[in-house]
């Protein structure tokens, strides 16, 4: 496998009494696309949110491009720390609910962080943002406010916004789950293109078709652990584990 971008070792996370992650190991190589499947409550979103320290794990290690990002005294306390800056500037995330800034236009959504965090000039940030919005097919929507955009368009702005920080890894947290069915394709196409350009991606999704076609590897989670993983064809068509079979049966039966 290529250089390891993300290495998770023994990740544990609990919310109060509820143990959501019970020791997860996962390696993601540079340029690899990993799709994470699993029933709701399996811990897949939490795992994703651990990778950029939105949910700092209680135990376990996370290495990002070889750097241990969990060891800092402040990591995960919500305060600025070397680790947090290191992670947030290398890892982009796209959320199920888009979370665009409603008081800013599409373009301003994309330029805000590069200007405020990376200190880029307004002109430079705008040029790059226009280019990114063009790339996700929204070149004509730059001055629209989010409320004027469809869900699919909003989600593509959110992808452009994350890409504007030049991330090395992109995380996708059920990004099509809140969309009307006819809007899903445009978002998946954008992600497909990103994958073909060699972006390292961890994708939590229910889109089996996307996983089959785009993923280099599929990971199936249940009950806070990885049940099985492998190439899409193997996990989706010839699952070894009973739990995977049952889940796929339920999803495909729809």
């Amino acid at each position: 496998m290529a250089e390891t971008m993300v290495r998770l070792r023994g990740i544990h996370k609990r919310f109060g009494e509820l143990e959501v992650l019970k020791g997860v190991d996962l390696d993601v190589g540079r340029g690899e696309v990993v799709c994470v499947l699993g029933p709701s409550g399996s811990g897949k979103s939490t795992l994703l949110r651990c990778v950029n320290l939105l949910e700092p794990p209680e135990r376990g290690e996370i290495f990002l491009e070889g750097h241990d990002i969990c060891k800092g005294p402040n990591s995960g306390t919500g305060e600025q720390s070397w680790e947090l800056n290191f992670v947030r500037q290398r890892v982009g995330i796209v959320f199920q609910q888009f979370n665009l800034f409603p008081h800013r236009t599409a373009l301003q959504n994309v330029t805000m962080a590069p200007e405020k965090v990376l200190g880029r000039s307004r002109a430079e940030a705008r040029a790059k943002a226009s280019e990114l919005l063009e790339r996700v097919g929204l070149g004509d929507k730059v001055d629209q406010y989010p409320e004027r955009l469809s869900g699919g368009q909003q989600q593509r702005v959110a992808i452009a916004r994350a890409l504007a920080m030049d991330p090395h890894v992109m995380l996708f947290d059920e990004v099509t789950s809140a969309l009307d069915p006819e809007l899903v394709k445009e978002v998946l196409d954008t992600m497909r293109e990103l994958a073909s350009e060699g972006m390292t991606m961890i994708v939590v999704t229910h889109e089996l078709g996307f996983a089959r076609e785009v993923a280099d590897r599929v990971v199936f989670m249940d009950g806070g652990v990885i049940v099985e993983q492998g190439p899409p064809a193997q996990v989706l068509d010839e699952p070894r584990e009973e739990r995977t079979k049952r889940f796929l049966g339920l999803v495909l039966d729809r």
Binding site: F101, P102, A113, V117, P146, E147, R161
Partner: protein, 247 residues
Amino acid sequence: MSEFFHQYFDFNYMGEHFWEVLEAFLQNVLIFTVVAVLALIWGLVLALLRQLPGKKFLPIRFLTIAYIDLFRAIPILIVILLISGGVPFLEFIPKEIRIPHWLGKPDPFWYGVVALMLVYGAFTAEVYRAGIEGVPGGQMEAARSLGMSHWQAMRNVVVPQAVTLIPAPMLNELISLLKDSTLVSVIAFGESVLISRELLAQSFNSSALTLTAIFFILIILPMARIVDKLIARNQGRIARGSHMEVA
């Protein structure tokens, strides 16, 4: 019945004492104005301190919450009486501060201002907090995920959205504040209620109190209508699926 009208609605009496009562009422407006400015700032400071993230700031958060709870719980009248009765005797404080006569105003004015500011700072802090917490958590998460610090996210993302949620409830607090400015009468500051009661004591006629009430009504009714308008506007936004307008 005519007895009653003579006691409370003697328009001749009101006319005779109109300017006296109006001048006293303007003292209420003055207290209100000074306290509103101070409390809006102090409340914002408290609200932001309360939002500080992480373990490091736990003591500050705890103290802030304790302050807010305390001053929301103590009746304002008691705060006024304790401050005016206690501060003058704190001898470690320089005399100019513990018995202030700044800007030509007597010390009861300033005790009242400080007491109301301490209490209303706690109330306005809660309004700010409701505004900040009314912004969906995903906004802060998205901003932080893009590498912004807590303060950058607050300033650029959360506060600009929170301010649109704040005006209506804040105006309600300010209406209460204007009315509570009459409480300063208990420490012998010559505002409208004190003056009206002095007139009552002299003439056994209550119409000055009625006149004072009319002044309050005249100034507060428009404020109440503005509150209604603001609420209607916010509901319009929610109906349109957004609580934002063009920034």
